[in-house]
Symmetry: C2
């Protein structure tokens, strides 16, 4: 029932396209889900994609388009006129998908497409949706939903649902509104099926409804839906009028994107890139962070250079440069990533920043003492000079403590001034920790070598 894209399959399809063999192409794409066809189109050239697209089931066209990757879709739509886009695709789409796709077009093309949408109501809904910021509940929601009035009977309700259902793919929830279109609850389908025809909706509906406002940030929408295990959530405007609904499949994309963004930030990659992107895109996403890291390296070189005299006297000081910077870096990233994850999932706890820092200090001290004791034992064992052994261990504790506190404090501070705290997990924090760590190390080293000599 499910399709797995293989190299063999692509090879066969390409041969069919090259031979202009419509029968083979149809055979190969027949019965596939739109998401599978979109996956195939993402893998082949734009001309091959056009050939395939022309020969798939017409009613699938818009679903395939929705599932395509953004950049492929962009190149694909560039081949079509505004009228074709409107009549072939947009007319068959849900308002939220239509708005997403139209928003990717240039201002000029947007107007062209909108002017060719045959359903005035749909065109109006799309224009309304385009006004919402794409990272808010309004930008995520679809306007297709089923709503009933509180003073209707069950029979009237079923009749109205039948009419409204024409427009909606799947009925998950029936929303109940009052005369002013204010959302007052939901009507579980179960209750509708079990109730007597003359019963009034207001006597059976469920008034405990969780809704979100149109301007709520999409990450917060995801948190609400996740916390309350919601499959769909109604969206209301500032005065509580029902405007649309968000289903969880759209929110899954938000959750994935957020997680990927944080992951890319911690690994020093900017932008949403994949291994299948072009070499140019991948280079562009990676080099800025490498440059930040290298600049940090130059700074570190200046710090080390400042202790050139000591290095010439005690070259053994250089042995542990990497140990100090690497361990400080690791401790810092551990701290900041725990904070970043806690902030993202709202599980950070309610205690004050000071208490968070005290907790972090305790953990850092325990880790620092264990590690530096082990290291001291090792250094004594291999008969390194006592000055070196003491300096390295003392520096190690200090660096772990400083890096951990820094890694805890910076994301909390960034979050307070509304900057994405994940920034604090990238090369930026590691670099800073490197520089601070080296200072501490050489300063302590210099002191002990002077004392012991």
């Amino acid at each position: 029932m499910r399709f797995e894209l293989t190299r063999d399959y692509l090879e066969k399809l390409r041969q069919g396209i090259e031979a202009n063999d419509v029968k083979i192409v149809k055979e190969l794409t027949n019965d596939l889900h739109p998401a599978d066809i979109a996956e195939i189109l993402d893998e082949i050239s734009i001309d091959e994609a056009r050939f395939v697209y022309l020969h798939i089931d017409k009613e699938f066209g818009s679903d395939v388009l929705v599932e395509m990757e953004e950049d492929v879709r962009e190149r694909f739509l560039a081949l079509l006129s505004g009228e074709e886009i409107a009549s072939v695709f947009i007319d068959n789409m849900d308002s939220d998908d239509a708005a997403d796709i139209i928003s990717e077009l240039s201002e000029e093309r947007q107007e062209e497409v909108l002017s060719h949408i045959s359903d005035i109501q749909q065109a109006g809904d799309i224009v309304d949706l385009l006004n919402y910021d794409e990272d808010t509940a309004g930008g995520l929601m679809a306007t297709e939903l089923i709503s009933v009035k509180e003073n209707w009977t069950v029979t009237r309700c079923l009749d109205e649902i039948r009419i409204q259902a024409e427009e909606v793919d799947e009925i998950f929830f029936v929303y109940v509104v009052d005369e002013k279109e204010t959302l007052i609850g939901t009507l579980p389908l179960k209750k509708l099926l079990l109730a007597n025809g003359n019963t009034l909706i207001k006597d059976i509906f469920d008034g405990n409804v969780i809704s979100v406002k149109t301007d709520m940030d999409s990450e917060d929408v995801a948190n609400v839906m996740e916390k309350y295990d919601l499959v769909a959530v109604p969206v209301v405007d500032g005065i509580g009028r029902l405007k649309g609904r968000i289903t969880i499949d759209d929110v899954v994309d938000v959750i994935k994107e957020e997680a990927e963004k944080d992951y890319q930030m911690i690994s020093g990659i900017s932008g949403d890139v994949e291994h299948s992107d072009s070499i140019f895109q991948l280079t562009k996403a990676r080099i800025p962070w490498l440059m930040i890291g290298m600049s940090g390296g130059v700074l570190a070189a200046l710090v080390i250079g400042g202790f050139e005299t000591e290095l010439a006297l005690y070259p053994q000081l250089a042995f542990f440069i990497t140990l100090i910077t690497a361990t400080g870096g690791n401790a810092g990233i551990q701290s900041s990533s725990i904070i970043v994850q806690g902030l993202a999932s709202k599980t950070i706890g309610l205690e004050s920043t000071t208490r968070k820092l005290i907790k972090e200090l305790s953990i850092a001290l325990i880790n620092g003492i264990i590690l530096s004791t082990l290291l001291f034992a090792y250094n004594v064992l291999v008969e390194h000079p006592m000055a070196l052994s003491i300096s390295v261990s003392l520096a190690l504790i200090t660096v772990i403590v400083v890096a951990s506190l820094f890694g805890t404090f910076v994301p909390l501070a960034l979050n307070r001034i509304k900057i994405d705290p994940a920034v604090a997990t990238g090369p930026f924090i590691t670099t800073t920790n490197d520089v601070i760590g080296l200072f501490i190390y050489f300063w302590i080293g210099k002191y002990f070598f002077t004392v012991f000599s």
Copy 2:
């Protein structure tokens, strides 16, 4: 409508509990969603939690239990007898939640609880579910679902749905099975509402159903539901018989957990910890990775120590140790994280490993040439010796290339031998890159200083 947990609220609640004031506690928890109550119970002591729990609405009890954090729930259930757990909680739960919670108990307590479940059918379902691996579709699914036979009429179907609906919280899909209980399709509620009473189900059902097998890995289930935008997916056994269904809210948890696992791996934290966990738990999750990193640092010290003679002659070589290791580390993590993300989301592309490595080589060369040219210009500008300037830049290119190829190859190789490729993003790969990078750097440095002097 939604509740926000604040320090003030907790303060008031604690005062109420301390004063044994049932009225205040009831007032404060009244009208709250079970997920909110669970959130509160996670924040207060186990004794306070018991007090609150005793005074909340009885029918909410099991929902609150489902939403609690695992460790809090464990301590909480330890206070109750097997009979209490069975009669108060399990009887009101969906089979998947019940199985999850029972699976957390000791073998002995599991039997005790199971023997006290009043509904024999439910007890049987739970025992069946306990047999599935928790990371498979079988472990995720619930057995509560609505299924109809293909040769029923719409009227019979609605009657049966009314009966079956008693057990099911929400009706999202009606599944259609044949005489042998084999899943053959779904019946959209819309079609059911629009059809005539005498119509046979086999004439209106939708045979294009995507299902998963009970033994499918839960990550794969998540990928399938995400790709096809499914809100619920039916689960079938090896010969296609309908066994249960998975709803997307359970899969959202899988997606989140996977993302968190990868994130914690790259930041060098083991186990699923949060900032609110105890100092002991947090230390335990962090120290192993710090030790790996420190061992790498000791290895690095040995490498650098091997070049002690050169360092004594040319102490300037030490200046750029951090730059080389940090940049190599960054490039390696970039490469491996792109591969790990691609493998997780199945967007890695179909080309061979060799082609992936060639692509990575190109990116590494471009980045390496740009960065080392910049660095060379800087070193010439600040009038560092030519031997140093050349060595550092040459070493930088080499290290970026080696680290990038290594970062690409290792996760691909781990994935092939069925080890979680995310392992390759943690301190392990950075440490290896540090050691290799230092070798390359000092070896090149030694050569050029000898040539130029």
